[in-house]
Amino acid sequence: MQIYLPIAEVSVNAFLLLGLGGIVGILSGMFGVGGGFLMTPLLFFIGIPPAVAVATEAVQIVASSFSGVLAHLRRKSVDLKMGTVLLVGGLIGAAIGVVLFNYLKSLGQVDLLVKLCYVVFLGIIGGLMFIESWRAIRRSKVPGSRPVRRKHGLVHALPLKMKFRVSGLYISVIPPLIIGLCVGILAAIMGVGGGFIMVPAMIYLLGMPTKVVIGTSLFQIIFVTAFTTMLHATTNFTVDIVLAVLLLIGGVIGAQIGTRIGVKMKAENLRILLAMMVLLVCGKLAFDLLVMPSELYSLGTGGDH
C-alpha cells in the first residue's frame, strides 16, 4: 500500500515503514539506544530526503523511548536522579552543539564531518565494548573466577557527591554532567539522540549496572529528541507527521517486545550484541567513504549554498 508523504513529497510503501519502525523499536527497547543511527541511513536508502529523515526520526525516537521507559519504570530499572543530572548536561551540550553545527555549516563540508564523526565514534565505542564484553563472557565460562571489583579512581575523588540509589552509586555529580554535556554536543552535530554513546559511557565511565543504564538512557533520550523535534519543526519545517506516525506504530510495539527480550538476556550478551551492531553500521559508513560511489553527482536544493 503506497502512501504519499505530505512534507517529504514522495510516495512510499506503508508496510515497509511499519516493518522498519518495528525492527528499530526492538533494538531500542533491548539496548536503550534511540535507534536514530540505524534508522536515518535506512530512510535515506528508501528515498526520503535527508533533512526530512533526520527531523522525522526524532519524533519516532520520542515515541519508542517513551514506550520503552514505561516498561522499564514498572521494573524499577530507571535511575530518575541520574537521568536528570545527565539530561541537564545534555541540554546544555545540545545548545552548544547547535551553535557549533551552524558554524561548521558556514564552512561547508558539514556532511563529511558528520560521517567522519560517526565512523570514529562508532568504531571506538563498538570496538572497546566488543573486547570488554567478549572478555566478560569468557570469564563467566571459567568456573570459580571472581568478578572484577570496581575501581575507586578519579570519579570517586571529586566533590559534590550524591547518592544514586537505583544505580547503587555514591559519586560526584560532575562526571555525569560532563558526560551529558559531551554527548549532547555530539548528538546535536550528528543528529541523533546519542544513546549509543551514552550507554557505553554510563557502563564504563560511571560504572552503572547494565540493566539500569538502558532505562535511564531512554529516559533522557525522550527529552533530548523532543527538544530536537521542536527545533526542526519550527526552523526547517522538515518534520513529516505521516512518516512519523507510520514509523512510530511499528516503533512503540517493537520497543515493548525489545524490552522483554532485553530483560531475559544476560548483560554481557546484551553488550556484545550492541557492540556488534555498532561496528556493523560503522563498517558500512566507512565502506561508503572509501569505495568509489556509483553516482558521483548528487542533487540538492538550489538557492542556498
Binding site: 516498561a71 512503540v252 540538492g300 536544493t301
Partner: protein, 251 residues
C-alpha cells in the same frame, strides 16, 4: 503553374494553415494520501482551412513540464582516500518534472535550430548560466542532473509515443510518477512538418495536495510550533498506548 503558386503561398504562410485544437483527460491532479502516480492523456485535432499542404508528414510533439526551480548539483572527488563533495554548480532553473513525447524519433521530428528556438528537448529546457571558472567540466553537472532525474522517471523521453490518425487526430499519454512536487504544470503541443514547427498550443494542469495532505502541509508551514507539539503529543500517546496494551496482553 497555378499549383506551384498555391504551394508557394502555403509555404509562406504555414502558421495559419494548420491549427491545434486540444483536449485533456484531466486538467488537475490532486495528490491525496494514497496518490500513486497518475496518467494524463493529451489528445487533440488539427484544424485546417485548406487541404493538407504537401511536404513531409505531419508530426506531433507533446511536452509536460513541472515548475522550474534552481538545483544545486554536487560532485564527489577522492581526497586523501575519502570520497568527498568538492565542486558544486547551481543550475538556475530546471523543471521538477519534464516529459517529451513525440510521434516519431526526435531527430526526424524537430531540427536543432527549431529546438533551440522553442526549447523543447530536455537539455534545452534546463537553464544554466554557467559554472564558476574554478570548476572543471562544468557541462557534466547538467548531464548528471538529467541522468539522475531520468533514473527516477522525473525526466522522460518518449520517442514515437504519440499516435496520429489521418494527419488530423493525435493522442499521447504521459505517466506522472508517485513522487510529485505540486505546482502549475504546463502541457505544450507542437506540430511540425520537415522538422519545422507549424503551430503550438499551451495549457496548464494544476497539481496540488488535497485533503489531509493539504491540511498537514499548511499547518507545518503556518503554525510550526503547534505542528511540532502535535507531533510530540502523538508520539507520547502512541508510546503510552503500546505500553498499556502490552500490560493487558500479559495478564
Amino acid at each position: 503553374m497555378l499549383r506551384l503558386i498555391a504551394a508557394l503561398f502555403l509555404l509562406v504562410t504555414p502558421l495559419s494553415a494548420e491549427e491545434i485544437v486540444l483536449g485533456l483527460s484531466r486538467d488537475e491532479v490532486a495528490i491525496t494520501a494514497n496518490f500513486n502516480g497518475s496518467e494524463v492523456m493529451i489528445f487533440g485535432a488539427i484544424k485546417r482551412d485548406a487541404p493538407a499542404p504537401v511536404g513531409g508528414p505531419l508530426e506531433v510533439i507533446i511536452t509536460l513540464a513541472g515548475p522550474l526551480e534552481p538545483v544545486l548539483v554536487r560532485r564527489k572527488e577522492r581526497v586523501l582516500g575519502i570520497w568527498v563533495n568538492t565542486d558544486a554548480v547551481e543550475v538556475d532553473a530546471a523543471p521538477s518534472f519534464y516529459a517529451v513525447a513525440t510521434s516519431a524519433p526526435m531527430r526526424d521530428v524537430l531540427t536543432s535550430v527549431e529546438d533551440l528556438r522553442y526549447g523543447i528537448s530536455i537539455p534545452r529546457v534546463i537553464r544554466s548560466v554557467g559554472a564558476p571558472d574554478t570548476v572543471r567540466n562544468s557541462e557534466t553537472f547538467t548531464q548528471a542532473l538529467i541522468r539522475i532525474r531520468a533514473g527516477s522517471e522525473h525526466y522522460q523521453v518518449l520517442d514515437s509515443a504519440v499516435d496520429i490518425e489521418e494527419e488530423t487526430l493525435f493522442r499521447g499519454q504521459i505517466t506522472l510518477p508517485a513522487a510529485l512536487t505540486e505546482g502549475d504544470y504546463t502541457a505544450h503541443i507542437y506540430i511540425t512538418r520537415d522538422g519545422v514547427v507549424v503551430d503550438d498550443y499551451e495549457t496548464n494542469i494544476a497539481v496540488y495536495k488535497a485533503g489531509l495532505e493539504r491540511w498537514l502541509y499548511e499547518m507545518s508551514r503556518n503554525q510550526p510550533f503547534f505542528y511540532g507539539l502535535m507531533s510530540l503529543a502523538i508520539a507520547i500517546s502512541a508510546g503510552w498506548l503500546a505500553s498499556a496494551a502490552f500490560r493487558i496482553f500479559q495478564r
